[in-house]
């Protein structure tokens, strides 16, 4: 960063001025670094203040809120995993158990990879564990401090109501909250741990001398925090299960939480093994691959059978609205993402030719994406209205079809196609026709965005590759299949991930396009969360649902990354 000139100046300044501490910190090369760091923190402060309060803190806050019960109450009585149990019944325990296990696994892996890199570079590793563990524990206790202070702080406005001198009273109440025994304990505990950790860090850094050794504190901090999460989640699950059993015993009912945990875990485990076998088969010789594939299929069948036997019973016990919402989300995702990616890849490939007016087309395709969606959704409401003389219905009428209910139709698509002769089970009936209209809207909106990104991806493929392929006699289709697609795979991967996550987050247009007549068949996960919050004012429950949605998105991202690491070609 520094220019050589500056560095020379700095060196001159440091020589002979080590005695006075003030000048040691504020002048010279070191002083320049300190001042730059301080200025950087000043630059970062406003952005990080806002992002911490409204972007990072909400995760902790939602986790906290999701353990509380009550209607229209911010700080309700503690309810453990109760909200989750209401949403997905006993699947909660399975999920909590596996999230804890995953945290444990990630903690171990973080340390293992760290030690491996250190060994390869021949650097010290384990001595970093001291500051790492202390700082990790410090962070954990700091979270406990927040959780203890939070309910007290949230209570202040209600105590302030009607008070005369609010400013003074507020400061007084804040101070009282901060002086609370538990809060103080956690605060000083966390401070001591952090200070000890930083002191150890400085000692080890000094001991390492001026040779630039990498800092391996990160893996240890991450591992400690993950272990703390795993431990508290494991403890929570354990106590909650005990409590559930005790309650069941009192009511004279039998409970099968443990057996359910075992069977469902086994089911998912078998599915994983099947995937692993199938995936490994690619690298094997043909005979073995055949056996591996057959084995995978068998394991898949058994695992699927176990899950099909167990899951619907649990789903029937959970919140029906939430399950319908998840189903709608999955339908929406499956229905829109491949369609919009395929269409926009086609459009981008066509536009990438030397065509007249390609700039014009690009601008036009992008309009639905930038146009405010309440406005465009209002258009779709009228286009797909259920009146017989609405545009789409009269279009169908012109071909002799009968008009449809569109946005007011709660019946599943496949059911509609089959007619009334057969009645499909709800899960097989497909997305409701109303949801299909929303899918059409989604595709219509996002094609432009995908096309623009695809065009940029196509532009980054070097011409020479095509020329080489042409010399080798590759036709245009072969060029597209064997040159364009592999070289475009990073873009395809990025857009897939972005769109899948986007569909799981989708809210706005779905909220505008939902009708009462569709009977909630269009309500995706986000809409269900919104209704639980706004309509039912169940703060804790909405938070629990949101955390579940976040978990789903995290799992999707992870799976996507795993697939991408194998299939994406970063030329």
């Amino acid at each position: 960063m520094d220019s050589t000139l500056v560095r020379n100046n700095a060196n001159q300044a440091t020589t002979g001025s080590g005695a006075r501490i003030g000048s040691y910190w504020l002048s010279g090369r070191r002083g320049r670094r300190v001042r730059e760091a301080l200025l950087a923190y000043v630059f970062l402060f406003p952005a990080f203040l806002i992002i911490s309060i409204f972007g990072l803190f909400p995760l902790l806050f939602a986790a906290y809120e999701s353990t509380l019960r009550g209607l229209n109450r911010i700080v309700g009585p503690y309810d453990g995993l109760g909200n989750y149990v209401r949403a997905i019944d006993n699947l909660t325990y399975v999920l909590a158990f596996w999230v804890a296990a995953a945290c444990l696994f990630l903690a171990v892996r973080s340390v293992m990879t760290g030690s491996q890199t250190a060994r390869e570079k021949g650097e010290t590793f384990w001595s970093w564990s001291w500051p790492g563990v202390f700082i990790g524990l410090g962070i954990g206790v700091a979270v406990a401090y927040i959780f203890r202070l939070l309910p007290l702080m949230l209570d202040i406005p209600s105590q302030l109501r009607g008070a005369q001198n609010t400013g003074v009273r507020f400061r007084q109440l804040m101070f009282e909250a901060w002086l609370d025994g538990g809060v103080q304990q956690a605060f000083w505990g966390s401070l001591v741990l952090l200070v000890v950790g930083i002191a150890l860090y400085l000692i080890i850094e000094r001991a390492a001398g001026h040779t630039h050794h990498a800092n391996y504190m990160g893996p240890f901090i991450a591992a400690t925090v993950l272990l703390l999460v795993a431990a508290s989640l494991g403890w929570l699950t354990w106590t909650e299960i005990q409590k559930a059993y005790a309650e069941a015993l009192e009511a004279g009912e039998g409970l099968e939480i443990w057996s359910q945990i075992v069977t469902i875990s086994a089911g998912f485990f078998l599915l994983l093994i099947a995937w692993w076998l199938w995936d490994g088969a690619d690298e094997q010789l043909s005979d073995y691959a055949m056996v591996a594939r057959l084995g995978a299929a068998a394991v898949l069948l058994v695992g699927g059978w176990v899950l099909i036997g167990e899951l619907p019973r649990i789903i029937a016990q959970g919140d029906k609205e939430w399950w319908v919402g998840l189903q709608a989300t999955v339908w929406y995702s499956v229905g829109t993402v491949p369609t919009q990616l395929a269409i926009s890849l086609l459009l981008a490939a066509l536009l990438f030719q030397d065509l007249r007016g390609k700039g014009f087309f690009r601008i036009v395709y992008f309009i639905p994406y930038v146009a405010p969606f309440v406005g465009t959704a209002a258009i779709f409401r009228i286009l797909f209205s259920n009146r017989p003389n609405a545009p789409i219905n009269s279009f169908i009428g012109a071909f002799g079809g009968s008009s449809l209910q569109w946005l007011n139709e709660p019946t599943g698509l496949f059911q509609l196609l089959l007619g009334n002769s057969v009645t499909l089970p709800t899960w097989a009936a497909g997305p409701s026709l109303a949801l299909v209209v929303i899918m059409i809207y989604g595709v219509w909106t996002y094609i432009g965005f995908n096309t623009v990104v695809f065009m940029a991806g196509l532009g980054s493929i070097p011409r020479t590759v095509y020329e080489a392929a042409a010399i080798d006699g590759a036709g245009r289709w072969a060029q597209f299949r064997h040159v364009t697609l592999p070289l475009l795979s990073p873009t395809i991967y990025f857009l897939t991930l972005y769109s899948v996550i986007g569909t799981f987050k989708a809210f706005n247009h779905i909220f505008v396009l939902r009708t009462a007549a569709a009977l909630g068949s269009t309500d995706t996960a986000s809409v269900v969360i919104f209704q639980a919050f706004k309509r039912d004012t169940r703060f804790g429950y909405a938070s629990a649902l949101a955390i579940l949605l976040l978990l789903i998105i995290l799992i999707l991202t992870y799976v996507n990354n795993r697939i991408a690491s194998k299939r994406v070609f970063y030329g």
């Binding site: 220019s3 760091a37 036009v364 309009i367 309440v374 258009i379 003389n389 919104f530």
Partner: protein
């Protein structure tokens, strides 16, 4: 990946095995599908009530007065101005804070840089739905303790959106590409970081800053879920919410609803047409690197 710039390359021999005519056909169908809803909207917005509900495709005589009626019935003079104010407040904060933070990440050295940056990227994963309940509580709490209320007021609608990972990331990518020599010569001329940022970096980064501003404009104009949560009175209600409320109130007065839609859509489209080149390039490059 680094070479993925968006400079349009001249296609030479490469073209797909589709006839040129067929290609145009597909592209034109695509354009028609993209545009027809808008044209239909404009058409309906000029009809009278019987034509609008009768499924006509073109008005017999254009009823321009629909726009005035929709403007009054939907109280757009309030909501439109609200949105304009909210957009301006959000954009000022967003640009200032994101530029400063992006500069710190791109050009300055400080302890914890990698950690803070990964923390920033982690917020990209968080779905909006997770933030609704906590942020609503935070905002009402802040409103109770601060001199001005936050709920039903501009702070709740703007301050949470004044800094975000996407903006910082977008600008940082661009700031990093600016050659280091400029910083060296600026230092020799005695400029510090702040002056260098304001005099050199910002003027050089008009394109990404404009992209960010447009995204902020669209995001603020489109905001729906959050305004529904934090406004209970129309006083500060933005236009999207205003239009949605109007759609629900006005029954089957499609001509007025469509006039309202056009009024909502038009400002965005005007801004988009004037900035589309920068904007599309910005999306292409940010999208690829995101």
């Amino acid at each position: 990946m680094a070479s993925m710039t968006t400079t349009p390359t001249k296609p030479t021999s490469f073209s797909l095995s589709v006839g040129r005519g067929l290609a145009y056909l597909v592209l034109i169908v695509g354009a028609v599908v993209a545009l027809t809803p808008f044209l239909y909207t404009v058409s309906v917005s000029l009809m009278n009530l019987t034509e609008a509900t009768g499924g006509e495709f073109l008005p017999s005589t254009p009823h321009w007065e629909n726009y005035a009626r929709a403007w009054n019935d939907a109280r757009f003079s309030l909501f439109f101005m609200n949105s304009v104010k909210l957009v301006i407040i959000t954009l000022v904060g967003e640009l200032a804070f994101c530029i400063l933070a992006a500069y710190a990440f791109a050009r300055m050295e400080f302890p914890g840089k990698t950690f803070l940056f990964s923390l920033l990227l982690a917020t990209l994963m968080l779905p909006e739905a997770v933030t609704w309940v906590p942020n609503f509580i935070t905002v009402s709490w802040l409103g109770r303790i601060s001199p001005i209320p936050w709920i039903n007021n501009w702070p709740a609608l703007t301050i949470p959106f004044m800094a975000h990972a996407f903006g910082i990331f977008l600008l940082r990518q661009f700031f990093q590409q600016i050659p280091n020599e400029l910083w060296d010569s600026a230092q020799i001329d005695g400029a510090g970081h702040l002056r260098y940022l304001m005099r050199i970096i910002v003027p050089l980064s008009k394109a990404p800053i404009m992209t960010l501003a447009l995204f902020g404009f669209i995001g603020s104009w489109n905001a729906l879920a959050w305004p529904i949560l934090v406004t209970t009175t129309p006083e500060w209600r933005p236009i999207s919410y205003g239009l949605l409320a109007f759609l629900d109130e006005s029954g089957s007065q499609f001509h007025l609803q469509m006039a309202g839609s056009v009024i909502t859509i038009l400002p965005i489209l005007v801004v988009y047409f004037f900035t589309q080149r920068t904007f599309l390039e910005g999306i292409a490059s940010s999208g690829l690197k995101g």
